[in-house]
Symmetry: C2
Subunit: 344 residues, 2 copies
DNA sequence: TTGAAAGCGCTAACAA
DNA sequence: TTGTTAGCGCTTTCAA
């Protein structure tokens, strides 16, 4: 009894042709008589034949499977990117296998099992510079870096224009007369943290703000970390009238901490986020933020990767997607009463 | 030039054994002399050999790839389930390919391309009853339904105990003296919507509440839909002192709508959610909710599926995970001033 | 314990 | 236009 129900040879037998002719029909080759094609198609239908993709992969040396490694699969940014990449991949006849690679170790392991063992044709890596994972990147394999600004010589990259996003956020606060801005950053090891910070610094510099008026607290993107960082900020004694959070979740944590401290947003402190997650417009107060569309990043990443898989010699590309300010109600004009707490 | 850098035969040649012996070493068979094994291992290292997984899949008739179809990959519940399933799969030597199947059509297409073409060994389907997708389920293929209560004869199922969750939510509100409860439901076509509703009705019945005191508005799980449904509720003229939302996002939308209408939560209206998303504790007011852990559902689903893949005749299992009430600040004792608006 | 032969289901190259 | 012959890289008999 055959392992797979029906093979190409069964179809060939029924249609009275060679299995090769069946293969031609399946693959849409021209050189087949319409009549033969008909017969083969009928046989395929009658038998309920389905090509075995593993066998095709084997014979062709390509799997039409793309891998996508990201720190996790749950956070809105990552999940959106993955869905974007998956849609584009499927549209182009590929599948996307997404895996969470929270650390360098796991990353290396996945590269081994998915790329070196030839299960996948190519690889999208999200945030490869958040630790040493870029060092574990396989050579000579089609790959795309997402969330990366530093142009690489070998790999295509696609990212949000984080620096510009940071600049726009700062500029918005500056335009509301805020001068003492506290920034809640992501892990400083991550490139996008540094980019957003650089954009902020640029805007501050351009506006002639004194650098000693600003202060950074490092979080890990989670709402908890934003909450804790804000508590520390409040205890630190730093003066500030605005918080620039590098993502919406930390911004929400910040607002929560401020509220617990009896401070009102935006009357006492303005808060701006980053991402524009679906909930941003519905929290209290609705969050002013910088919108990025990770879904688009994923789509572009998959497109770039497929291009490279199918055309390995194509010139390397580096793309940047625009950031956009979304003004809601968590930011307001500076009221000349910046928060000042005594250091404990 | 060989398509794959190094094959089992290259290793065999270098080690001076047959390729079959190399295969035995790779697969950890017993019947190999330690000495031979050593030689082969050295050759593998020297050549940087990696088994080609496609060829293994081909020869073995199994791919060690699992598929997971869910309505989308982005929503917290789905993304968590996927990550849970992915972790469990990898732990057991499988990979998980997750794909979004928002409609029956896409679902059927994915079944065709992933299952019938034998790319995947088995299939996890999340919410198969949200439309007709369960009718497109392949027969005779290892599969698991997640988020399903109706025991099937053929497939393993794993779900949150939604009915109990609904009951607990209602009971909490009842214990706070609320009697007029408005429920914001998910799509009524979905099984978990109906289960949570049934739990609610049971609790209400047990407490002797009049059924005409409760009212349902249907949403689609999105924060927007919760917002709109609540606006409609307010305009409808129904009296209510509490809103029981079937997920946290709709609860957040509801709170937003109430706030816009000048109502305070929980002083004027109590709101309870469902899920306990990470942001639930940080919104204003912190959300009372029913916790479920979709990550665990995913883990169990993957475990069940792998068991079935490896042991097709094992008895069918139907599992239910417990729901838990998390009390925060969005619910309070009934203040004897239920909202009453005139119908427009 | 090891090796030789056959085949997994398909595509590619060549021949007819 | 169609068929034949070889593989793709591995595992699984079966012999030795």
């Amino acid at each position: 009894m055959p392992r797979s129900r029906v093979t190409i040879r069964d179809v060939a037998a029924l249609a009275g042709v060679s299995h090769q002719t069946v293969s031609r029909v399946i693959n849409g080759h021209e050189r087949v008589t319409p009549e033969t094609r008909q017969r083969v198609m009928r046989a395929i239908d009658d038998l309920g034949y389905r090509p075995n993709e593993v066998a095709r992969s084997m014979a062709q040396g390509r799997t039409r499977l793309l891998a996508c490694f990201s720190p996790n699969l749950i956070d809105y940014t990552f999940a959106s990117l993955i869905e974007g990449a998956e849609q584009m991949a499927r549209q182009q006849g590929y599948f996307l296998l997404s895996a969470s690679a929270p650390d360098e170790e796991t990353f290396a392991c996945l590269v081994e099992e998915l790329i070196h063992s030839r299960r996948a044709d190519g690889l999208i890596v999200f945030n490869p510079y958040s630790d040493g994972r870029y060092t574990r990147m396989p050579k000579g394999v089609p790959g795309v870096y997402a969330g990366v600004h530093t142009p690489t010589e070998e790999l295509d990259t696609i990212s949000l224009d984080d620096k510009e996003g940071g600049r726009i956020a700062a500029q918005h606060l500056l335009s509301l007369d805020h001068r003492r801005i506290a920034c809640l950053t992501g892990p400083i090891t991550e490139e996008c943290t540094r980019e957003r910070l650089a954009g902020l610094a640029n805007a501050l510099g351009d506006a002639g703000a004194r650098s000693e008026d600003s202060v950074n607290f490092e979080g890990d993107w989670s709402v908890e970390s934003g909450y804790r960082a804000t508590q520390m900020l409040l205890r630190s004694g730093h003066e500030f009238s605005a918080i620039c959070a590098q993502n919406d979740r930390m911004a929400i944590g910040a607002i929560h901490a401020l509220r617990e401290a009896g401070l009102h947003v935006p009357q006492d402190v303005s808060v701006i986020g980053f991402d524009d997650i679906p909930l941003a417009a519905y929290i209290n107060p609705p969050l002013t933020t910088i919108r990025q569309v990770p879904y688009d990043i994923g789509q572009v990443a998959a497109r770039l990767l497929i291009e490279r898989v199918e055309q390995p010699t194509r010139a390397v590309q580096h793309l940047l997607l625009p950031a956009k300010l979304i003004v809601r109600e968590s930011t307001a004009v500076y009221q000349h009463r910046a928060v000042k707490n005594e250091p404990r």
